[in-house]
């Protein structure tokens, strides 16, 4: 047993977090920054954070993750990191020549109170920022929220760049939330099928699923263009996918540039995708194309074909709030019962949403925001499930409890290729269902007696 010290009995913990179901803000900001074309993320703190965040993202994507750091020393930690950041900006533009730099902070620079806008001003005054290059920054204190909060804060910093001119540009802004590069591509594909012009940011498609050609470009020709981000202030509306990931950015666009916004769930599964497509159709004033209707029909067909294996199955879910909400709804719609739903990210609304979904579907749910995977495991020990859906760390629980696991969410460190296949949209829904059924039937094939073992399932 790899988690043999985890007791079944749940005792209250007030101070100790064990096996967190979240990580800290800056990694989310780093991921978001990689979704801007030509942008180098920069971590304003001591260099360990940056090394850890790059490593984790690299292990997840099996792709290079470039990011710089202010490399605080003890002196800077006491007297402020302004000199470090100014030097860094100068070095980065000289050596790596990005189009711009997106700075996020850590618990170190936030605790000492470094003021990013003031340092940016100084950098510009000292001509450390070449003509036409951009700087943006987001405070991302690690002691508030989670990696999801950090992502949201960087998205908000992007939205803060938006400017409003005299004319609307006829485009819908989409803030896609923390999804994989292939998901971002899928969201763009869906929008283009519907025919509603969009501006999407961040956009990591083409950045974190690049080809192997013998050439390496630190800044591939992909990602959201900074000018499009600035022009998002002229959008006709914003669809924010995911309350935790995207709502703050969208609301800022609304208050700052009077771009009306609507907060939707990230389109994982049938229901959330339906709402997303419906919203795009309405803002664009167009009809949903036949092609998309066929994709939807395929997903419904698959649900019908697979239903006998899904009906009444208990599932335990752990991950990020926006993901879990859509997934809980999707699974409930398959007549599965997500009986344990845990996120490490704080937020009262989360528990309320999950409870509402469970209640509508008619099953009891243990839901916890700001929970951890130690608690998650204990819940499973008390009420075993047929399937676990979560990130790679779940494999320890899955092994100990001999429960099938579907890897989904962040980070996935022990499987490859996931960034190439979307799990959003109807097409992504097909993939989620395929993975779930594969896991359930592999287990059935393993467990069935020789007499029960069957060719056709």
């Amino acid at each position: 047993m790899l988690l043999k010290h985890t007791p079944k009995e749940i005792t209250e913990r007030k101070a100790l977090t064990i096996n967190p179901a979240k990580t800290c803000q800056p990694i989310g900001a780093m991921y978001a920054s990689l979704g801007i074309k030509g942008c180098l993320p920069h971590s304003h703190g001591s260099q360990g954070c940056c090394a850890y965040h790059r490593s984790t993202l690299t292990r997840h994507y099996k792709e290079p993750i470039s990011a710089a750091t202010s490399s605080f020393t003890e002196g800077a930690s006491v007297f402020g990191g302004q000199a470090n950041l100014l030097q860094a900006i100068d070095n980065i533009f000289n050596v790596y020549e990005p189009q711009g730099i997106a700075v996020h902070t850590t618990c170190l620079s936030e605790t000492i109170g470094d003021d990013l806008p003031q340092i940016f001003d100084k950098a510009k005054k000292e001509n450390k920022v070449p003509e036409g290059k951009f700087l943006l920054g987001a405070p991302t204190p690690s002691y508030v929220g989670s990696h999801v909060t950090g992502f949201a804060n960087m998205v908000k910093a992007m939205a803060a760049l938006a400017k409003r001119s005299q004319r609307r540009n006829g485009k819908v802004n989409i803030l896609p939330g923390w999804v994989e590069p292939a998901d971002m591509a899928e969201i763009k594909r869906i929008a283009s099928l519907i025919g509603t012009p969009i501006t999407m940011y961040p956009d990591t498609s083409g950045v974190l699923n690049g080809p192997l050609t013998g050439d390496y470009a630190m800044f591939p020709d992909a990602g959201a263009d900074i000018n499009d981000i600035i022009a998002s202030g002229d959008g006709i509306g914003t669809l924010a996918l995911g309350e935790w990931c995207s709502a703050d950015g969208a609301r800022l666009l609304d208050t700052q540039c009077k771009v009306p916004c609507s907060v939707l769930d990230i389109p994982f599964g049938l229901q959330a995708t339906d709402r997303f497509v419906d919203a795009l159709r309405k803002v664009g004033g167009v009809a949903v194309p036949e092609e998309l209707m066929i994709e939807r029909g395929r997903l419904v067909d698959m649900i019908s074909d697979m239903h006998q294996y899904f009906f009444g199955k208990k599932v335990a879910l752990v991950g990020d709030p926006d993901h879990l909400i859509a997934m809980t709804e999707f699974l409930s719609g398959l007549d599965m019962h997500p009986v344990h739903v845990v996120t490490g990210t704080p937020g009262k609304k989360f528990e309320k949403r999950i409870r509402a979904i469970a209640e509508a579907a008619g099953f009891e749910v243990n839901v916890k925001a700001k929970g951890d995977m130690f608690l998650f495991h204990q819940l499973i020990k008390n009420e075993p499930v047929d399937l676990i859906i979560g990130n790679t760390y779940c494999k320890y629980i899955a092994r100990d409890e001999d429960t099938p696991l579907v890897r989904w969410g962040f980070p996935i460190l022990d499987r490859q290729g996931h960034q190439h296949f979307p799990t959003v949209g109807y097409m992504g829904g097909l993939r989620i269902l395929e993975k779930i059924l594969e896991a359930l039937l592999d287990r059935k094939d393993r467990d069935d007696s020789e007499i029960e073992f069957e060719l056709v399932l």
């Binding site: 790899l2 010290h5 005792t11 913990r13 101070a15 100790l16 977090t17 064990i18 096996n19 967190p20 979240k22 800290c24 803000q25 703190g45 001591s46 260099q47 360990g48 954070c49 090394a51 850890y52 965040h53 790059r54 984790t56 690299t58 099996k62 290079p64 993750i65 470039s66 990011a67 710089a68 750091t69 490399s71 020393t73 003890e74 800077a76 930690s77 950041l85 030097q87 860094a88 900006i89 100068d90 070095n91 000289n94 050596v95 790596y96 850590t106 618990c107 605790t111 204190p141 690690s142 002691y143 508030v144 192997l212 050609t213 013998g214 390496y216 490490g344 130690f374 760390y393 320890y396």
Partner: protein
Amino acid sequence: MGKAIKTTPTDPAVIKEALLEKYPPKVARKRAKQILINEAMENTTPEITANVRTIPGIITMRGCTYAGCKGVILGPTSDIVNLVHGPVGCSFYAWLTRRNQTDASGERGENFMTYAMTTDMQDSDIIFGGEKKLEKAIQEAYDLFHPKAIAVFATCPVGLIGDDIHAVAKKMKEKFGDCNVFAFSCEGYKGVSQSAGHHIANNQVFRHVVGTGEKERDEPFKINLLGEYNIGGDGFEIDRILEKCGITNIATFSGNSTYEQFATANQADLSCVMCHRSINYVADMLETKYGIPWIKVNFIGAHATAKSLRKIGDYFDDAALKERIEAVISEELPEVERVRKQISPRTEGKTAMLFVGGSRAHHYQELFAELGMRTISAGYEFAHRDDYEGREVLGSLKVDADSRNIEEIEVSADPKQFKPRKTAEEMAELIRRGLEFKEYDGMIKDMEQGSIVIDDLNQFEAEKLVEMLKPDLFCAGIKEKYSIQKLGVPMKQLHSYDSGGPYAGFKGAVNFYHEIDRLVNSRVWGYLKAPWQDEPELRATYVWE
């Protein structure tokens, strides 16, 4: 390893120039001192600048003090509860991400390595202080797990807000009575790299654990294996060989280790240092306080392994032991040789570059040499000058402002437990016979003339080196892996071994030969260009023939 003069494909001076030309003048001046063209002669080694602060914005490979302390030294120990006092990230990122294997089956029982524990500090803890929460978290960990020890690690904000983690640890230790609680002030901003964390970890483990063990170790030929972290099972392979030779490894620092091993390390008769950088402090302190001499060993490479075993045999100077060691070597080497002969024609003459933490960039050169591969450039992330140039420079090292606050602890001979393992005459005789104590010659002397040694290599320099020198293999870590491979050059991780291993000892050498063969001869590197990209541009309309 060859000291013969061989020429690199391009003039090293030209390469150095090219690495520096894009930098702003101040940066270029600084980097120039950390990039060295090897001209080591019999008695002189050129001087490199190392263990200095990182240049902001340069895209370093380095991590922090916390990583060096918690991640590297204490992480691999299975029965100590490691509690990280800080916001959630530091604990999360060090959660099972280094491949320190552990065998907690059987009597050993406890294994906390699969748990990441943190106080998950919130903004209120930053504002009002986190001592109360830490105290409560220690209590909760104790109530849940009843471990024999709890180690507390500070992260960046802890030092800034002034939480006294040592006072909290002391209080809880006294309260529990049966659980040793101690703390590490390993805030990420201390020092300039992981290195400071090693030092802090060495100090505290020595101060709070070493020598407290009850168990009497009375086995023959007792050694400590210092600075071996059992990545991919390296330590298991070394232990297998030692056991076969009849040598007892009573404490590994710290792969597959236990609290008890640390606690009884003072009972060994010899310390064998693998990773000099991370653990030389403990080696020195064990000698000063308890009288245990130390030697440098290297179990990376079959011949290096044989050499290291013979060194241990020479030290104990026991005929039966020496005989067993020779028997083991002659039993193990033929298989290694068989595989080496089969593979080396496929690797002979190929070139490698190694940029790894603080020790492997040197050790692995022996393995590449066994395959007939040349190391044309190497460097460390965070080693000090003694790791590059040898310990003879120790006297001339100056501690700079960035590392001045790393504690140096005063250790003196223990009035009760100090016991010279050899008489002065015996030591003198061993030295006369060629055994070197407390000695490490560093990496540079073992490298070719004209090879390029680079400290704290960054992303820009890595790409430039690969572009100019076109090595057949590049070795570094996960952050470097994929950018190098995008350039069409195979990349071997020498931190995580790309999930492979062990690479130490005899079986490890065989594994490594196969792995290097796989990498440098993989077909994938032939697929980078599509067939149509090889042909000249079509000018006329293509006619179907």
